[in-house]
Symmetry: C2
Subunit: 355 residues, 2 copies
């Protein structure tokens, strides 16, 4: 009770690159709701968005144009403006002394950049890397749900199909879903701009390029490569089909997990029940399971339909259904959680955090 007060380090200077995009806005929401200490907030975007004012903690923060000099004095720079911007500006931010947490795919497969979901592999932050990669949204949500399972049992195969929201395609795709659906209900013509086809009451294979070698699309190959990296299982066989569905901001995943030995649904449910970042929603009697309507705006990943897979007579496979907010755990919140770990473990480099 009478212990001497320990002096808090100064609150870090935070920069957000891509502050006006869907993930940028979710980053501000996550910093706010998680009561992240922010010394100064620097919102960076293209010249087109500069001058706009964005609300944060009862203030309106002006958006500045991103330039080479944007990172002077910055402690933590969140990047969410696409891989091209990250490749160009992240090294400049590092040179200016900032710690970079990058939401793009630019560095996710670089050996010297950890790819981090704190619940799954937060320990990889101990080496105080200058750049940390934030995973693809499906990989982040999937590995959050798998973390407590992976820590106890040996996973030998994953088979998943995704139900992905418009938010993964950015604010413009969300607006196209709303506007196209509104036109469809009114019986009016609508010309899509973001997609080559209608999104209203429609589902479609993920709109990333198909790899001509494998026939898998870019999203599916990211899910495979990043999930393997986060789980430290570089050869884990993963079957994945990525489909977009007409929902706004939460992704669903139908998942089968195979193990190296017999396992029960009860064991898996027990492991998930009290795990960090997970809420089990699995009410068989009421037919109440994870839904985007309940996962949207929620920090936890919802997991349910946990059952022994009837397709594996050897009893080694468990099937489940997962839903997580694409903009929160699938992007912004995970990035903020990475920053929290850096601060909590004093990994944020002294030279900048105490500047």
């Amino acid at each position: 009770m009478n212990a001497p007060l320990r002096q808090s380090p100064p609150a870090p200077v935070i920069a957000i690159v891509g502050a006006t995009g869907a993930v940028g806005i979710a980053l501000l929401e996550s910093l706010e709701r998680r009561q992240f200490r922010v010394g100064e907030l620097r919102l960076l975007a293209s010249a087109r968005s500069a001058g706009r004012r964005v609300p944060f903690r009862h203030a309106l923060v002006p958006v500045e144009e991103l330039t080479e000099n944007s990172f002077d004095g910055v402690d933590i720079a969140f990047f969410s403006a696409g891989a091209g911007i990250s490749r160009e500006y992240a090294p400049l931010a590092v040179a200016a002394g900032a710690q970079v947490i990058d939401n793009s795919s630019a560095f996710r497969m670089s050996d010297d950049v950890p790819l981090v979901v704190p619940e799954a592999n937060g320990a990889s932050l101990q080496d105080a890397p200058r750049i940390i990669a934030n995973p693809n949204c499906i990989a982040a949500i999937l590995t959050t749900a798998l973390a407590p399972i992976h820590q106890r049992w040996s996973i030998t195969r994953l088979n998943l199909s995704t139900y992905q929201a418009a938010s993964g395609g950015g604010a413009a795709m969300m607006e196209e879903l709303r506007a196209g659906t509104s036109a469809s209900l009114a019986g009016e013509d609508f010309t899509p701009k973001v997609l080559p086809h209608s999104y209203a009451f429609n589902i479609f294979s993920h709109n990333s390029d198909i790899d001509p070698e494998t026939g898998y699309n870019g999203e599916e190959l990211k899910v495979i490569a990043e999930t393997r990296r986060i789980l430290s299982q570089p050869a884990l066989p993963i079957s994945v089909t990525c489909i977009r569905v007409p929902i706004l901001r939460a992704h669903g995943i139908a998942l089968s997990v195979r193990f190296d030995a017999h396992i029960t649904a009860e064991q898996i449910r027990g492991a998930l029940q009290d795990a960090p970042g997970i809420r089990v929603v699995d009410d068989w009697a009421a037919n109440h399971f994870p839904m985007p309507s309940e996962a949207s705006g929620e920090e936890d990943v919802l997991v349910g339909r946990i059952r022994e897979d009837l397709g594996d007579p050897s009893g080694r496979t468990i099937t489940m259904f997962i839903v997580g907010d694409q903009l929160l755990k699938g992007a912004a919140q995970n990035a903020v959680q990475i920053a929290e770990v850096l601060i909590k473990t004093h990994t944020l480099r002294e030279s900048t955090a105490s500047a």
Copy 2:
């Protein structure tokens, strides 16, 4: 050219039980577009719908109340008013001399009732059964796509996740999706009546009861049992998760098929390319694959994303994405196709067809 004219048998008398439901209306559409010869059309429904007039081939046909005497003189009776009505009235229709094609689940697992998808197991109609069961929508669409594969290679396992439309829940669920979405876009309150939660921009585990033994829902257990029966593989391991998505009348299926030996995507594509009832939509360069917007109102089942499964290093698994119209191939059209086979093979019992 001068061959003697063979006299056509008289056009059969057709009854439709549940004529005002979503499938009943699709039955009329299918009879019309497939130019099915109809001698007389008897539309049957509950007392509530009796007296309504339904359009068929430029005429308005009055709906009659279903009674014990509704089947006098009927050659073919299509049932689509739920399992309870089928159990009660199908035996009466048979006793009156009609051939019953039942769209409900009432007789699908009865040993003496064939469960038929003409492309997959049409030969089972040769025994002239009095009642023929029309499969669950997912089982029908799935086995149509699997038929040409199953005929050439040995399938050892299926793993599928579904993207099911509102139409499977009937016209009321379709209307609830439209009305709820409209209210959501307008920012208005909406109280769902068909479902216990919102359907607008939402996905949810299929709304059939969960089996407390297995944790699988009724829809999933139907898919497993009926697919095994149609393919004549009573022990085929099948993993399935059934999810409803906010689309109106076409179901999607993300599918992995395992074989007993190495196989290539090219072999599977070749088998599907010219198969009846299937249209391959698999344009990797244009990222054009099966979508409900193109499958709705279409008789063919669309198949694409055909690729070797990266989750099976043994090279024995192929992954694909399938979309079919739930009301057509998933219900009404398949029933009409069964009737066509009966007539074409002269299996329709003489006593009635020539009455």
